[in-house]
Amino acid sequence: MTTARNDTANTRQDDLLAHVYQQVIDAQAEQYAAAWDATAGLARFTDWLRDHPAADLDADQAVARLYSRHYQPLVRLAAMLVRDTTTAEDVVQDAFIAMHGAWPRLRDAENALAYLRQAVVNRSRSVLRHQMVADNNQPETPPDTPSGEHGTFELLERSAVIAALRGLPQRQREAIVLWYYADLSENEIAAAMGISRGAVRSHTARGLPAFRAALEQAASQSAPPGDSEHGPSDP
């Protein structure tokens, strides 16, 4: 009798026992339900509803406020981490849904924003992991689908930035995006990435020179000749 064999046998048994348990409990529940005092029960719950402070019930409004204020910035943040706006929007919407579910634990807007950022970073990571697998199987990737609200210039500039970011290792890219484009403090970046402040510092320190070099290279390629003096050479 090997352990593996026991496990297989137990899994088979467990399916059945779950079924047995459900049937037994359901049958008993039906009998016990007859003893339910509906009037007293409802009165007790209604009293609770009446006495309870509304603070626990205002998730809808709080989430709506967070949504109107932070949706677009978070999409831009996600777009820096993943490859296209559509995916970024999905990532952010997922993060909002998860945050809404977690609201009873979060309870205030500041916690919620930190939660959202972390959710966006985590979900972007898993999107990238998934894309990597998909890319390996299907080398032809569809082109980025720009959303209609972005101007052409902004799009061009951003695609250069995104191309430069894409050349960086993932953690360096995240640290730089959160620092430069989301304008977060070191503490907030550390929380969003789930790493220490020291690690944040070392990721930004290593990522920045490479990022600048890539941007400069892109600028010199696209800039018209003779315009190079306005290039990004400031410290």
Partner: protein, 187 residues
């Protein structure tokens, strides 16, 4: 306490939800607690308090999904009562989880009423810890290590409890003989 701040429509919806599901949940909680009606009443209240806190999200679910969430929640609250510090009560099922379809019923074959009655007697006679472990495993579909963490037991203890309950239920099921011969020469 500013009672009037509760959105009226939420309170009304919660009242409707309570009226629709409380009776069934009470019966379910009685069965889980093996007949403790006062405790079951408390569990029903706690479950709907939890539902009220999640209502902004829950109100978007259909009735079947709400019921599944309520049942899972009352199950978690019931088993958390088996541990003194009630640690499980803080980890209510996530709302996303209830949108999953229910698992396919692979045992459509009806078990006889007599066998079910014998099983209930077995369940009623289980020591509290074995009962807790069995409910968590087979009603709440938790893994052995989740159960161990939830009850503060060693993994091996959970496995031993489950194996003891399996043996007792197997005997109670009798001629239904669900486990066939592949089970090997049992010890």
């Amino acid at each position: 306490m500013s009672a009037d701040k509760i959105p009226k429509d939420h309170a009304a919806e919660l009242g409707d939800c309570f009226a629709a599901h409380a009776r069934g949940l009470f019966g379910y909680a009685c069965a889980l607690t093996r007949g403790d009606q006062a405790l079951a009443d408390d569990l029903v209240q706690s479950t709907f308090v939890a539902a009220a806190r999640q209502w902004p999200t829950m109100r978007g679910l259909c009735q079947a999904q709400r019921l599944r969430w309520l049942q899972t929640t009352i199950g978690h609250l019931a088993v958390s009562g088996f541990r003194h510090n009630g640690a499980l009560a803080e980890r209510l099922p996530r709302l996303e989880a209830v949108s999953r379809p229910p698992p396919a019923d692979t045992h459509a074959q009806a078990i006889s009423g007599i066998a079910l009655e014998r099983c209930w007697q077995v369940i009623q006679a289980l020591p509290p810890q074995q009962h807790a472990v069995a409910v968590m495993r087979w009603l709440l579909a938790m893994t052995n290590s989740q159960i161990a963490a939830g009850l503060g037991l060693a993994d091996g203890t959970v496995a031993a409890h489950l194996s003891a309950v399996r043996g007792k239920l197997k005997a109670a099921l009798g001629p239904y003989d669900p486990f066939g011969t592949e089970d090997g020469p049992a010890s």
